[in-house]
């Protein structure tokens, strides 16, 4: 087993990886930028290196140089940054450093979304109707022609994909050009590659991923499926396992397909085989994510397997800890993605310093976060602040536990989407497990939710006392709240 691993990432995933390394007796080298110096991953690592490059965690040269200087035998890329970069994985191999992820050839094969769909289609599985998009320079007529063949509604996607960024749904031909331009811009910004393709929209649909583990000895197992249909701007807000939308026949067919597809690509390490399930119940393969995902903890909870530990063991050449028969999927798990963003102000990012940060506790509640009281949340990176995970015997218990945990989670200092999550988990369709990818389009965030007439009167009383308390302490003149022009909808209180 490795003695020292470099973690080429930040925030909650870097913290998550350090925990498993420490339990395995492996030393960790963490990276940080000055904006990230407060992050828990810097405090918990054995060794830390301040990044100099403007590319930060994505700078292959600097990351490799640090790995060599510190004597790290392996690099865990987490997600994003250097994950799913075949070139980087090759350079690691050339330097004699183990890249914790699939081999470069596998990364390449699955990274090209269109080639991957083509291969899976040949193997006899359904894939969405798609078409490669002409170059940036191509004229609109050619673009419209391709779109017409695919048919509307369609989605403009980055050929590099990942994390739902850079994807845009287009309902009508006259919106196509604008969407392609914006998607190119965003794809270039996020992935450094503006190659796009068009895909026919399957809607309504369910977004399902099957978590797989594969070792270098030909063993492939799955840890069940996750339902990721609860999306806002292509970002999963809540993910759960098992899926409430499948029957047992569909479920086992999906698992079999995922294992087949993983084998087709000679997949290794951990990944997610992703599908869209249409309203007729047909599943369409969309892509393989060749890395650990933000939502991996959901599968960890129902399978009782530490996926990061398995990743490291696989990378070290070990066999999978359990066979498919030995893996028991048990109970129901959910994850909420808690972002530092303001649900009352069009979800604008909300950097700042955490002055209160009280995690929910109790049985089968888990929070993965890089934050703590006093920690600064930087403005430069993804707003993901914490993953809240809960497990219950069944879905009803899981939902009630999630609701309880959300009520208990206290964050002051930055705005977060906690209030949005609190409202979603009280939505009847969500509670019934009856939702698809269109759920968030219809969901109305209620600015004054859950406040009874009594609570409103109590709020008046507390406001009066708070005002006097603040006067009493003679606080320095409070700066005017920043008044930007973003949208604000307000509802009147019950009166």
């Amino acid at each position: 087993m490795f003695k020292k691993i470099l973690i080429a990432n930040r925030g909650e995933i870097a913290t998550r990886i350090i925990r498993t390394c420490r339990e395995m007796g492996i030393l960790t080298v963490a990276l940080y930028t000055s904006a990230d110096r407060d992050s828990l991953h810097v405090r918990l690592a054995d060794e830390v290196k301040l990044l100099q490059s403007p590319n930060r965690y994505g700078d292959a040269d600097e990351v490799l140089a640090i790995a060599k200087a510190t004597g790290a035998e392996a690099i865990h890329p987490g997600y994003g940054f250097l994950a799913e970069e075949a070139g980087f994985a090759e350079r690691c191999a050339a330097e004699g450093i183990v890249f914790i992820g699939p081999p470069p050839s596998v990364i390449r094969a699955v990274r090209s979304k269109m080639e991957a769909m083509e291969a899976v289609k040949r193997a006899g599985y359904r894939v969405p109707l798609y078409a490669d998009l002409p170059d940036v320079g191509a004229d609109e007529a050619a673009l419209q022609q391709v779109a017409k063949e695919v048919g509307f509604p369609l989605v403009v996607k980055s050929a590099r994909g990942g994390r739902g960024r850079g994807a845009r749904v287009v309902l009508r031909a006259d919106r196509l050009l604008e969407a392609v331009r914006a998607a190119r811009h965003e794809a270039e910004l996020i992935y450094g590659d503006d190659h796009l393709y068009l895909e026919r929209v399957i809607a309504p649909s369910h977004y399902l991923v099957v978590q797989v583990l594969a070792d270098a000895h030909g063993n492939v197992v799955h840890l069940g499926e996750r339902e990721g249909s609860l999306l806002r701007h292509n970002q999963k807000l809540i993910e759960e396992s098992p899926s409430p939308s499948l029957n047992d026949t569909q479920r086992s067919a999906l698992w079999t397909a995922a294992i087949d597809i993983a084998r087709l690509f000679n997949f290794q390490n951990t990944g997610a085989v992703e599908f869209l399930v249409d309203s007729a119940g047909n599943f369409h393969f969309t892509e393989v994510k060749a890395r650990i995902q933000i939502e991996h903890g959901v599968s960890e909870m129902i399978a009782s397997i530490d996926i990061v530990r398995e990743q490291i063991r696989i990378a070290a050449g070990e066999k999978l800890a359990r066979t498919q028969e030995e893996i028991r999927l048990d109970g129901w798990a959910m994850q909420c993605r808690i972002n530092a963003e303001d649900p009352w102000n069009d979800y604008l990012p909300s950097p700042g310093r955490l002055t209160r940060f009280r995690l929910p506790q109790g049985p089968d509640v888990r929070v993965d976060t890089y934050g703590y009281v006093g920690c600064a949340i930087p403005e430069r990176f993804d707003p993901l602040l914490a993953n809240l995970l809960v497990k219950g015997d069944d879905r009803a218990m899981c939902v009630s536990r999630l609701r309880r945990a959300l009520m208990e989670f206290r964050i002051v200092g930055v705005q977060t989407n906690l209030a949005l999550h609190k409202q979603i988990v009280q939505d009847p369709a969500f509670i019934a497990g009856n939702y698809d990818t269109r759920f968030m389009e219809h969901f109305q965030f209620d600015v004054s939710a859950n406040t009874s007439r009594e609570a409103c009167r109590d709020l008046v009383a507390m406001t009066a006392v708070a005002y006097l308390l603040r006067r009493r302490v003679d606080a320095p003149v409070i700066p005017e709240r920043i008044k930007s022009g973003w949208h604000r909808s307000a509802r009147r209180l019950p009166s």
């Binding site: 990012p349 406040t451 709020l459 009066a464 308390l469 022009g485 009147r492």
Partner: protein, 164 residues
């Protein structure tokens, strides 16, 4: 005894607050004739006071720094405090100066000086935390001034556009 008018989402309440002499942190509050007791457990550290107990009902809540909004449960409310004693009325909110709500980079500007805009119309895109954030107009009116250019980095609270 202190007399205040508290306006929550446009509904005014007449409030009288009397701190208890016997018990620190205890307040008697009279709202339009109804009597309540408010207890502030963190009375010795009002900077931290983010929870109170009203007649045995505990609440965790949060007031914005300028006391113009309160968050409770999963809702947020506009509030206004009029202090009769201090004789001051806090100014009405929302002039037309659009300031940067977060530090970031202006990537696109959708409007030009002099252009008429509607309430809620997108004005510009501010890139921060790896997201493109659309900034919209707080009023219906005309663009008086464009204080930023595409590609420009802005700091928190920096004026970007003025609507009149």
């Amino acid at each position: 005894m202190h007399k205040l008018t508290i306006i929550i989402e446009n509904k005014p309440y007449e409030v009288e607050v009397t701190p208890s002499r016997a018990t620190p942190g205890d307040y008697a509050v009279n709202i339009d004739g109804q009597l309540l007791t408010v207890y502030v457990p963190d009375y010795d550290n009002p900077e931290l006071a983010d929870w109170m107990i009203v007649d045995d009902r505990p609440y965790e809540l949060l007031f914005s720094q300028d006391m113009r909004s309160a968050q409770i449960y999963s809702g947020r409310y506009d509030i206004q405090v009029r202090d009769k004693e201090a004789g001051s009325v806090r100014p009405a909110s929302g002039d037309g100066r659009v300031k940067a709500p977060i530090p970031g980079m202006v990537t696109r500007i959708h409007v030009e000086p002099g252009q008429l805009v509607e309430l809620g119309q997108p004005l510009l895109v501010l890139e921060a935390m790896k997201m493109e954030n659309e900034i919209r107009s707080p009023l219906a009116g005309a663009v008086r001034q464009l204080a930023v250019k595409p590609g420009q980095t802005v700091t928190l609270g920096e004026l970007m556009i003025e609507i009149e």
